[in-house]
C-alpha cells in the first residue's frame, strides 16, 4: 500500500510540475488576451477548433475527395455537427493505405499550428483515422495555412511539428476491428476496401493502441437483425460490438442481460466481464445501444448510429 501511495504522490508531483512548466510556457501565447473573456473565446474557439468528419465505406463514392464542404455522404450540410465542420472525403472504396493520404492532407490542413481538431468517423472512417495516427501520428508534419486548394492540400505556413493537434476522436459503428461480412464475402458489391475490412486483416493492419494519447470515443449500435447469423453478438447490421466497441479480440459481445450471448460489451475502457477481453488502449465505449435503436446506416440523413454521434459532436466539438 505504501508503494502505491508513493506512486500516487509521484503522479501528483509530476502533474503539478507539468502544470508549472506548461503554465509558464503559456505566457505569451498568441491567444493570450489578458482578462478579456470575449477575445479569449475568439482565439480559443472560433476557427481554431474544427470538427472533421471521416466517412465510411462507399462503393459508389463518398463525396468528392479534397472538397471539405461536400457532406453528401452524411446528409444536410447545414446540420450542426461541431465547430466549423469539414468533410474528409477519401473515395470510400480503395484500400486504407491507398486512400489514407486524403485523411492526412486534411489533418495537415486543419490540425497543425494554431489549429486543433476533433475528429468524427463512421465505419471504415475508424481505421482510416487509426491508421494515420499509428503510422504517421508522431511524424514530422509541415505547419499549414489552413487554406485548402482544389486538391485538398493547404499551403505551407512555415515550420513543422511532430504529429497533429487532435483533441479526441469519436467513431460510430467503427470498423477498425473488421466485419465478418467481409470475411464471408457477403457484400454484393466488392471493392478493394473490403479486403481491409476482414476481421483478421483490419486488426493486423496497424497497432490500434498507438493513438498518440488521443481518446477514441466509441458509439456502438445494436439494431441489427439481417446478418445476425454472420455477425457475432450484438451488431448494427454491418459491424458487430467487438469492433464498434473497440475490443482487442473478436467474439460475441452484447448488451447486459443477454444470457445467450458470450459476453457483455462494457462501458468505458473496461475489459469484458466474462472473458476478460480488454479494449485497445485509449478506446472507450461512450454509447452502447441498450435500446437497440441504432443501425449502421447514415442514409444521407445523419441517420442510424451517426445520429447520436452528430449530436455528441455538436455538443462537445466546439
Amino acid at each position: 500500500m505504501l508503494h502505491k501511495a508513493l506512486r500516487l504522490a509521484s503522479l501528483c508531483s509530476v502533474l503539478i510540475a507539468t502544470a508549472c512548466v506548461t503554465g509558464c510556457a503559456a505566457t505569451g501565447d498568441p491567444g493570450d488576451s489578458g482578462e478579456d473573456g470575449g477575445e479569449h473565446r475568439a482565439s480559443a474557439l472560433s476557427g481554431s477548433v474544427r470538427a472533421l468528419w471521416v466517412h465510411g465505406r462507399a462503393p459508389n463514392g463518398g463525396g468528392t475527395p479534397g472538397d471539405y464542404e461536400d457532406f453528401s455522404y452524411w446528409g444536410d450540410a447545414g446540420e450542426a455537427a461541431g465547430a466549423d465542420k469539414k468533410a474528409v472525403n477519401w473515395g470510400g472504396a480503395d484500400r486504407v493505405s491507398e486512400s489514407n493520404g486524403w485523411v492526412r492532407n486534411a489533418l495537415d490542413c486543419f490540425c497543425t499550428g494554431e489549429n486543433w481538431c476533433v475528429i468524427a468517423g463512421h465505419s471504415a472512417g475508424d481505421p482510416q483515422i487509426g491508421y494515420a495516427l499509428a503510422y504517421y501520428g508522431a511524424s514530422e508534419r509541415a505547419i499549414t495555412d489552413g487554406v485548402p486548394d482544389g486538391s485538398g492540400r493547404c499551403g505551407a505556413a512555415g515550420g513543422s511539428q511532430s504529429g497533429w493537434n487532435i483533441k479526441w476522436v469519436e467513431v460510430a459503428g467503427g470498423a477498425s476491428g473488421g466485419t465478418e461480412l467481409a470475411d464471408l464475402g457477403d457484400w454484393a458489391v466488392s471493392d478493394p476496401l473490403t479486403g481491409d475490412l476482414r476481421t483478421d486483416t483490419a486488426r493486423a493492419l496497424y497497432d490500434h493502441s498507438a493513438t498518440q494519447g488521443v481518446w477514441f470515443y466509441r458509439f456502438a449500435g445494436a439494431k441489427g437483425t439481417l446478418y445476425s447469423g454472420a455477425l457475432p453478438g450484438q451488431d448494427d447490421e454491418v459491424i458487430a460490438y467487438h469492433s464498434s466497441g473497440g475490443m482487442a479480440e473478436t467474439g460475441s459481445f452484447c448488451n447486459p442481460g443477454d444470457w445467450a450471448c458470450g459476453d457483455t460489451l462494457p462501458y468505458d475502457e473496461a475489459a469484458s466481464p466474462k472473458r476478460n477481453v480488454a479494449k485497445w488502449d485509449h478506446h472507450t465505449v461512450w454509447l452502447r445501444d441498450d435500446g437497440e435503436a441504432y443501425d449502421h446506416y447514415a442514409r444521407g440523413k445523419w441517420g442510424g448510429i451517426v445520429s447520436p454521434l452528430r449530436a455528441d459532436m455538436d455538443k462537445y466539438a466546439q
Partner: protein
C-alpha cells in the same frame, strides 16, 4: 492567462485525484487492469482515468438534444478537464516506450485474433455450424512460415471437421501462377499439437511453396465438411519475397538521459520509413514494456533504436537485466498497396542488457515539444469550455 492555465491544470489534477479516490484504493484495479494482470507474464498496474467515467448517464441511454445549452458548457468543461488529465497521465512516457499492458493484442509477435465464422455454404448463405480459424502470421517474409488451424463447432460443442481441399493463391491473379495445394492434418505431427483433437493444422511457407517472387496478399481457401455440412472458409496472408532490410545481429546498448537505448543494426536495402516494435521483459521474466521505432532510414547499415524510458522502468518496478524479445518490422510504403515490405521477425530473445540499479534511471516524466503543445492547448480548453455561456 498564466493563472488561468495553472488553475486549469490544478483542476485537472484534482479531477484525476478525485477519480483515483472515488474508485477506491489503487489496489482495486478496474476491470481493464485486471485483464492485464491476468495475462501471463504481462505486468499490470493501477488504472488510468477514463473520460467516460464522468459521462452523464442520460447521454448513454438517450442522445443529447442537438441544441447546445447551459448544461452543454459544463459537459464540455468536464470533458476538457478529463482530456487534459488523461493526457498528462499518458504522457509520463513517450509514445515509443509504453507499458506492456497497453498492448493487450500485441503481447506476442504476429498476433492475429482467432476468428469464429459461420461456414459459408456452397450455394450461398451461412450455416449454423461455425469454423474456428487461427493463424500464427498474417504478414510474413522470406523463409517465414505460417501455421494455420481450423476446427468446427455447433454452439459450444465441437463437431467432426474435415478439410476436403485447400489451396493458396495470390489474391489478385498473377499470370502463370496457379493455386498451390495446402495439406491440413490432425495427426499430431509437425505443427499439429495433438492428434485426433479435431483441430486440423497446416504449415504454409510461401517462399518454399511457389510464391517466392510474390509480394502482396495471398489467400488460402478451404473446402470444409463440418458435421456433415459443406462450405468454405478463407485465410488472408500478406507475403514479402525480398526483405527490404535485414538485422545484422548487432545490438548496441547505452544509457542516455536516464533511459536505456537498445540500438539494432539494420542493413537497409530499401530506404524509407521503417516501423519496428519489440517487447521487453525484466529479470523475473515479466513483460513490462512495449517499445517502438518509427523513423526514416537511409540505405546502408543504420541503427534503429528502441528506448526503455527511465521513468517507465521505475514506475513498473522492473529489475534489470532486461531482455528485448520478438522484434517485428516493416518498411512502410506511403499511399500504396500493399502498404509494406515486411522484415522477417527476430523472434525470441534479441538482446539481454547489463545489470542496472533503479538509480541508473531517471524519475522525470517525458518532455517534448508535442507534450508542451498539447498541454498548453488543453489547458486553454479546460479553462474556456463554458465561457460562451
Amino acid at each position: 492567462m498564466r493563472n488561468k492555465a495553472l488553475i486549469a491544470v490544478l483542476a485537472a489534477v484534482l479531477v484525476l485525484l478525485g477519480w483515483r479516490i472515488s474508485h477506491g484504493p489503487l489496489s482495486a484495479p478496474a476491470p481493464g487492469q485486471a485483464s492485464a494482470q491476468s495475462r501471463p507474464g504481462v505486468r499490470g498496474s493501477e488504472s488510468r482515468p477514463s473520460p467516460a467515467r464522468l459521462a452523464p448517464a442520460a447521454l448513454r441511454a438517450e442522445p443529447p438534444a442537438p441544441a447546445p445549452g447551459t448544461g452543454d458548457a459544463e459537459a464540455r468543461r468536464e470533458r476538457s478537464a478529463w482530456t487534459l488529465a488523461s493526457y498528462l497521465d499518458w504522457a509520463q512516457y513517450p509514445p515509443s516506450s509504453r507499458p506492456a499492458r497497453e498492448r493487450p493484442d500485441r503481447a506476442r509477435p504476429h498476433a492475429v485474433s482467432a476468428r469464429r465464422l459461420p461456414l459459408a455454404k456452397e450455394g450461398g448463405g451461412h450455416s449454423e455450424t461455425n469454423v474456428v480459424l487461427w493463424q500464427s502470421h498474417l504478414y510474413l517474409a522470406g523463409s517465414e512460415r505460417a501455421v494455420l488451424t481450423v476446427a468446427c463447432k455447433r454452439g459450444d460443442e465441437p463437431v467432426a471437421c474435415a478439410v476436403l481441399g485447400a489451396a493458396a493463391a495470390p489474391e489478385l491473379p498473377v499470370a502463370g501462377l496457379g493455386a498451390v495445394p495446402i495439406a491440413f492434418a490432425d495427426d499430431g505431427a509437425g505443427a499439429d499439437k495433438v492428434a485426433g483433437d479435431g483441430v486440423l493444422t497446416a504449415t504454409f511457407a510461401p517462399g518454399e511453396q511457389g510464391f517466392g517472387k510474390i509480394t502482396g496478399p495471398l489467400r488460402v481457401q478451404l473446402d470444409v465438411d463440418a458435421g456433415g455440412e459443406r462450405g468454405t472458409a478463407t485465410f488472408a496472408l500478406s507475403y514479402t519475397a525480398a526483405a527490404p532490410a535485414t538485422f545484422t545481429g548487432t545490438v548496441h546498448e547505452r544509457l542516455a538521459g536516464g533511459s536505456l537505448e537498445l540500438c539494432l543494426d539494420l542493413r537497409v536495402g530499401e530506404p524509407g520509413r521503417y516501423v519496428l516494435d519489440g517487447r521487453v521483459d525484466d529479470a523475473s521474466g515479466e513483460t513490462f514494456a512495449f517499445v517502438t521505432f518509427n523513423e526514416v532510414l537511409a540505405e546502408g547499415v543504420q541503427e534503429a533504436c528502441f528506448q526503455i524510458f527511465g521513468k517507465l522502468v521505475r514506475d513498473e518496478g522492473a529489475r534489470a537485466p532486461f531482455t528485448l524479445r520478438d522484434v517485428e518490422g516493416l518498411l512502410l510504403l506511403e499511399d500504396a498497396f500493399p502498404d509494406r515490405h515486411t522484415l522477417p521477425a527476430w523472434e525470441g530473445a534479441v538482446h539481454t542488457t547489463k545489470a542496472y540499479s533503479a538509480d541508473d534511471f531517471a524519475a522525470e516524466a517525458w518532455q517534448s515539444e508535442t507534450k508542451t503543445r498539447y498541454v498548453t492547448a488543453l489547458q486553454k480548453g479546460a479553462g474556456s469550455a463554458g465561457d460562451e455561456d
